[in-house]
């Protein structure tokens, strides 16, 4: 199996590490995975026999791109060109999620599908803005697109959703889907200001240096849009009614607590098919009232009633594990 990796950040590197660890499991399925290329902003490294990844990080640190690898690098080669040359069976898209639109990842995904490659993506933006286009393209080329890493990472939100949808109908979905904002709100419950909680979250590495995507609710908006698209398609992130947590005050949390409520950033797909993200009051001790970096999702099903999923939010390795699971699923679906 020829794999092309687009993106060499934290998730990309975690993916390469897990691929090594899972090699035996792939073999049991009769697959011999080979990373035939890696693309980053500065170019690509391609190798028919499989890229040796051990020295790539040093190359990237010293020279700015994997393209300067001694194994065969192509500075300034873009992802589309690399797809054309490497002819992968599976393209793994892990470039950073863009704001306000699909960004270059959409082009990578469409190009891969057009070249007959299956696609596994951890990049949320294309599935939050151009879901229908991607799925149409995949269908017309007879290829598979998987994106379970985009929501929940290690928490199998989309897989659970697909399972529940067999023989049942989704009425609504609500979820605490962003670990950083949930963590900040948890700290603020102790009377800390938003700024102080954010500082602490940054210092222990829970919040990114630029936490805008998380605290503005945009990350949750992307995720709830992807959930909605998985159910019925036709949604875009710019239709989400959006409010972040920046304006939540410690007093708001205190007041809510006195009345038996918590405030959490909740993403919602309503019965009417509307998408909303914003700070919401949740009954203390209810299933969605989770603390720290936990995520929680409530699926309200027509027949099964409420179903809950709860677990830790995504880090690079959890996301990489979801990508690997997607690749396994592609292998199994191909066999059918």
């Amino acid at each position: 199996m020829r794999i092309l990796l687009i993106g060499f950040g934290n998730v990309g590197r975690a993916f390469l590490q897990l691929m090594e660890e899972e090699r035996r499991r792939f073999r049991r399925l009769g697959a011999e995975p080979r990373i035939v290329g890696i693309v980053d902003r500065g170019g690509a490294t391609l190798s028919e026999n499989g890229v040796k990844v051990s020295s790539l990080l040093t190359t990237k640190l010293e020279k700015g791109s994997v393209a300067y690898s001694e194994q065969g690098g192509f500075p300034s080669m873009d992802a589309a060109e690399a797809i054309g040359i490497a002819q992968p069976n599976v393209t793994v898209e892990v470039t950073p999620t863009s704001r306000g639109g699909s960004g270059p990842a959409l082009r990578h995904i469409l190009k891969a599908l057009e070249h007959g490659s299956h696609v596994v993506s951890a990049n949320k933006a294309p599935f939050a803005y151009d879901y229908d286009l991607i799925m149409r393209t995949a269908l017309s080329h007879g290829r598979i697109v998987k994106y379970s890493a985009t929501v929940g990472g290690g928490l199998p939100v989309l897989k659970t959703l697909r399972t529940l949808m067999i023989g049942d109908v989704v009425e609504s979905i609500r979820g605490v889907l962003n670990a950083t904002s949930n963590y900040i709100l948890t700290l603020m419950e102790e009377g800390r200001s938003y700024d102080e909680a954010l500082r602490l979250a940054r210092e222990i590495g829970i919040a990114e240096a630029d936490p805008t995507m998380d605290v503005s609710g945009m990350d949750t908006a992307y995720k709830i849009t992807i959930i909605a698209n998985t159910i019925e398609g036709g949604h875009r992130a710019d239709e989400v009614e959006l409010k972040g947590i920046e304006e939540v005050k410690p007093n708001d949390l205190l007041e809510a607590a006195l009345n038996g409520y918590s405030i959490r950033l909740v993403g919602e797909f309503t019965e009417q098919g509307r998408l909303r993200v914003g700070p919401s009051k949740l009954k203390k001790g209810s299933m969605l009232d989770v603390n720290g970096t936990l995520n929680a999702v409530e699926f309200r099903m027509k027949r099964a009633g409420p179903v809950y999923l709860l677990g830790r939010g995504a880090g690079p390795f959890e996301t990489a594990a979801a990508i690997i699971r997607d690749i396994f699923e592609i292998l199994e679906e191909e066999k059918r």
């Binding site: 990844v53 990080l57 010293e62 700290l187 602490l200 222990i204 829970i206």
Partner: protein
């Protein structure tokens, strides 16, 4: 310019006298790489993982830091104590924040460990400032070092000097480097593993074109055997890199094996000195000009080990069995100290630490649950590995015979034997209760009798 690697594990906690001696040679420039003791790092790590109480861990940290500050004159001491309190308060805040996140976070723990390491470095530099030596302190990350992780087995981590100019700019005077406080490729804080501080010292020496790194030890130099086991142990004047490498693997902790290997590669000598005279050579590790008369130079012991013997007739002639067995053990994070396989190939013996035995067994049982290759796993707890080290053994006949005769004469039964292809050491396994007897026998009949 001189480079000194101060590992508090080697020197102990009384810094005043050591700093006075270091200050005597400060005028030519001094870079001091300081590493905290494992015990307090462990206390903090355990508290972050909620395995010990915060109070217990903080009491240990406060005790250690205050001991290190002893001897700083009154006028400076108050500000040092205030810094210690500030660091401890910050650690309390982080521990609390980690708990709120549901446990130790991958980035939160390095931040706390770095803070602790930095406080140790600050206290160290305060001692030198109090003596009148203008001293600055920086983290290894600020000095230009970076943690690099491998993405292929065996997933090793190493440290690299990626911004050498920083070190050149700051090393003209006296600089204390918090040796394990580093950054990763994203600029996030990273805490270097045990022994990596000495790698920082070797890299710094190479970059600054300094020929040697001084490593002061409380008992001065490396000994022919553990002085706690035999009072006849004496200092070894010189060791080759490969001999030092063997000894460091055996727990004779002067520098990490990685640091010794790197020192050889970069041609940096390691001078093991004493805390009383940190610039006087006790044992020099370097390229040896000629093989000395001494064939075996040291005997060392690793206590509290277990033997794990994996047997099965089907193992004979099946390619990849050894690799699969080792792989299953390694997957559980268990390090194997010694491997021995008999020629019939129906058994393979591994030596692991007592505390890792259960984990290794679990790995083997789960890994081979569906295969019939392994028929039986036998274990023996409470054994020790004894190693005789000396480059002169290479190609010298009769050394093994002398070692085992000495052990036999002492009435000690040998349970397993292994010799590396480099022939720089011979290792054997005995019961814990016989270990000291075996060390004494080899020391007296093989090392001292030359």
């Amino acid at each position: 310019m001189r480079i000194v690697n101060i590992n508090l594990e080697n020197t102990g906690l009384e810094l005043r006298g050591l700093c006075e001696k270091l200050a005597e040679k400060a005028s030519g420039g001094l870079v001091i790489i300081v590493e905290p003791r494992e015990e307090i790092l462990k206390a903090l790590t355990e508290a972050a993982a909620s395995r010990v109480s915060e109070e217990e861990a903080l009491a240990k940290l406060a005790g250690e830091l205050n001991s290190l500050a002893k001897g700083i004159p009154e006028d400076l001491r108050k500000s040092v104590e205030a810094e210690i309190v500030e660091s401890l308060n910050k650690i309390i805040e982080y521990l609390h924040a980690e708990k709120k996140a549901g446990g130790a976070t991958p980035r939160g723990l390095p931040v706390m460990l770095n803070l602790l390491g930095n406080t140790v470095a600050r206290v160290f530099s305060s001692h030198l400032n109090a003596i009148g030596v203008d001293t600055k302190w920086v983290t290894a990350g600020q000095a230009g070092f970076m943690l690099i992780e491998d993405y292929e087995p065996p997933w090793s981590h190493h440290v690299s000097l990626v911004k050498p100019d920083r070190l050149k700019n700051v090393s003209k005077e006296v600089l204390v480097v918090s040796g394990r406080s580093c950054v990763d490729h994203e600029g996030s804080e990273a805490f270097l593993k045990k022994g990596m501080g000495s790698v920082v010292a070797i890299l710094a020496a190479s970059e600054l074109r300094v020929d040697e790194v001084y490593v002061p030890k409380a008992n001065g130099g490396i000994y022919t055997a553990d002085p706690w086991i035999t009072d006849k142990a004496r200092t070894i004047p010189s060791l080759s890199y490969s001999e030092a490498l063997e000894l460091s693997r055996l727990g004779e902790w002067v520098m990490s094996p990685q640091a010794v290997e790197l020192a050889e590669e970069l041609g940096v000598r390691i001078i093991v000195s004493s805390i009383q005279e940190p610039f006087k050579e006790c044992t020099t590790i370097g390229f040896e000009k000629a093989v000395e008369k001494q064939i075996v130079k040291a005997v060392a012991m690793i206590p509290d080990m277990s033997i794990l013997t994996v047997e099965g007739a089907a193992m004979a002639g099946t390619p990849g069995v050894a690799s699969a067995i080792l792989g299953e053990v390694a997957k559980r994070g268990v390090s194997i100290s010694m491997i021995s396989q008999d020629a019939s190939e129906i058994g393979i013996t591994l030596l692991v630490k007592d505390r890792d035995l259960d984990m290794a067994l679990k790995g083997l049982r789960e890994g081979f649950s569906r295969q019939r290759l392994i028929k039986r796993i036998r274990i023996q707890r409470g054994v020790a590995v004894i190693s005789a080290v000396g480059e002169g053994m290479r190609g010298t006949k009769g050394v093994a015979a002398r070692i085992f005769s000495a052990v036999a004469e002492a009435g000690v039964n040998v349970l397993a034997i292994a010799q590396g292809s480099s022939e720089t050491s011979i290792s054997f396994v005995v019961l814990m209760e016989d270990a000291e007897k075996a060390v004494k026998a080899v020391h007296e009949k093989v090392i001292l009798s030359v």
